[in-house]
């Protein structure tokens, strides 16, 4: 049980893992806020988002396990892969940061997920389409919540403005990874499984630009930096996150929880 599992490189499986892992790892970071948020209402909101995201991750990973064919369940996939086999985008594994970092990241990811789930609702894979139908509503709420806060912080005080701008400097250049297509995207596109993520870029940029404008924030120029988490080459933060997340599964082989 405790040794790592090996997962098929089949593009459909990889496509699903990218979605499931991105939701799972962001949930992991959001859960770090529980009990530590700036106001009680945000304790609730952030835990709620984490809950939605874990729910999405469970549905998608379960389905990925079915497609994969080795009989892995959601927990084996979530807890027993090596770091190099996690397929989340790098953005979501970065440390929790302050509330501005959390809000901006939520806005970036939720906007992306909203667009993605919308397209996936018509996936040729009926199971995935079903998951998407529910998830898109959640993503819409997450986006709205993050957007409200982003504007509030951008407009609020000098301090909150400074922090939002710092968060933009810290996170923005991780967005390019979301839209960097490869064979996995081409396969999903060709089979009708789902969109090439790159095809969501225009809409994503438009929504983010609008959101930034509402806060009077400047969208940074694009840089050549390209993160590669969704292909399994993560940041140095990922190892620590996984050591924590996997500990019980690794330390209690054969356990039933």
């Amino acid at each position: 049980m405790q040794a790592s599992i090996q997962v098929s490189q089949a593009p459909a499986v990889q496509y699903l893992l990218r979605i499931g892992d991105t939701a799972l790892i962001l949930a992991q970071r959001l859960a770090e806020w529980s009990g530590h948020a700036p106001v009680l209402e945000e304790d609730i909101a952030l835990s709620n988002m984490a809950l939605d995201l874990v729910g999405q991750a469970r549905a998608v990973l379960t389905h990925a396990g079915q497609l994969e064919g080795s009989g892995y369940d959601e927990d084996q996939l979530a807890f027993l892969r090596d770091e190099r086999d996690y397929r989340n985008v790098t953005l979501v594994e970065l440390p929790r940061g302050d509330f501005a970092v959390t809000v901006l990241r939520n806005a970036m990811v939720a906007t992306f997920f909203k667009l993605l789930w919308t397209q996936l609702a018509t996936s040729s894979d009926a199971e995935l389409a079903g998951i998407a139908g529910k998830a898109v509503k959640e993503a819409r709420y997450h986006q709205q919540h993050a957007a409200d806060w982003l504007v509030r912080l951008a407009d609020g005080t000098d301090e909150s403005r400074r922090r939002v701008e710092k968060a933009v400097m810290q996170l923005w250049h991780y967005n390019t990874e979301l839209f960097a297509d490869d064979a996995v995207d081409e396969h999903a596109h060709a089979t009708g499984l789902g969109p090439r993520w790159g095809d969501l870029k225009e809409a994503w940029t438009a929504e983010m630009t609008e959101l930034f404008a509402a806060g009077g924030l400047t969208v940074p120029a694009e840089v050549a930096f390209l993160a590669t988490g969704k292909r399994g080459t993560h940041s140095e933060h990922m190892g620590f996150l996984l050591a924590e997340m996997q500990h019980l599964q690794r330390a209690f082989p054969g356990g039933v929880w």
Binding site: A31, V39, W257
Partner: protein
């Protein structure tokens, strides 16, 4: 004195007192103290369990735990609202918590050392909390009673989930997991029993609170009821309560149990428990670190308001 008589009469008839009703000052103060202490317990209580959110062993357990911690925040919210109906603001109550003036349930000053502690808290701590709280659903103050009805329903759910989590490990788990469960029970059993507070003869506020219908059942009665239930549940689980004196008393039709170490209880109350300082520091840090966020929200709201006025 007519007001006070009428108040007492309504209490006597089992009527609810509502926020706009006249009430004695001491009644109001007692309620604010109790409700805010309860609210603080919910939000401090997020910390020991929250400690395991990132390490929950399966996605199902992570889901359950996230939902539970979220419920606790929600309970905090209702309770602060209920207390606010009595004329004390949430910020005032938090200030009292942060300065150490207000109390919260002493049980949360114990650490969660293993995953089984999460289950043990659900089973024992929530179990004890429910025993304490069910009578409050009939409390004389309406807003508090109504908040408690909803809270108790959710707490029972948490309690069952905690029990079920321990049962899964005891029935299907490895020996290492069973040992972990027994160890957690060893550590949480006595503190849970202490949750009902000092013995009746040493409980200073009980009499007045009972008379006013804020408290409905005495500490020792509730404690006995809890022990009776927990011992049976322990049998189902297959764990052994860490009390060699536990024994069914045919005459009393209750379990006798060993002497409670009240010295420990009062040490923890006095601030010398394993986690008192860290729990309070965690809350104070969250509050202080979040100050800029709250200020920003306020500043933004003011600007919006200003803009609306100017537009009008």
């Amino acid at each position: 004195m007519i007001l006070e008589d009428r108040f007492e009469a309504r209490i006597g008839e089992g009527d609810f007192i509502e926020a706009k009703d006249w009430m004695p000052d001491h009644y109001r103060k007692t309620l604010v103290r109790q409700i805010s202490q309860h609210a603080h317990s919910e939000i401090v209580g997020m910390l020991p369990e929250g400690n395991w959110l990132t390490r929950a062993p399966t996605l199902k357990r992570k889901t359950i735990l996230l939902a539970k911690v979220q419920d606790e925040a929600g309970h905090g919210l209702y309770l602060y609202s209920a207390a606010e109906t009595l004329g004390t603001s949430r910020d005032q109550m938090l200030e009292a918590l942060h300065s150490g003036k207000a109390k919260y349930s002493s049980i949360f000053n114990y650490p969660t050392l293993t995953w089984a502690d999460v289950g043990a808290i659900g089973w024992l701590v929530d179990g004890a909390a429910i025993m304490n709280q069910v009578p409050i659903c009939r409390c004389s103050y309406g807003p508090y009673a109504r908040a408690m009805i909803r809270i108790c329903r959710e707490e029972s759910f948490h309690q069952r989930q905690g029990f079920e989590s321990l049962l899964t490990m005891m029935q299907k788990g490895t020996q290492a997991q069973k040992d972990m469960v027994q160890d957690a029970v060893n550590r949480w059993w006595w503190p849970s029993i202490m949750m009902f507070g000092p013995p009746d003869d040493q409980s200073p506020n009980t009499a007045q609170s009972m008379r006013w219908g804020i408290k409905r059942v005495s500490n020792d009665e509730l404690r006995q009821k809890f022990v009776d239930a927990a011992v049976e549940q322990a049998k189902v689980l297959g764990v052994i309560p860490p009390d060699p004196d536990l024994k069914w008393n045919e005459d009393r039709q209750h379990y006798d149990f060993g002497t409670i170490d009240w010295a420990e209880f009062f040490q923890v109350i006095a601030g010398n428990g394993p986690c008192n300082r860290e729990r309070l520091a965690a809350r104070v840090d969250a509050w202080d670190d979040g100050a800029w966020v709250r200020e920003a929200a306020l500043a933004h709201a003011r600007k919006q308001e200003q803009a609306h006025k100017e537009a009008a």
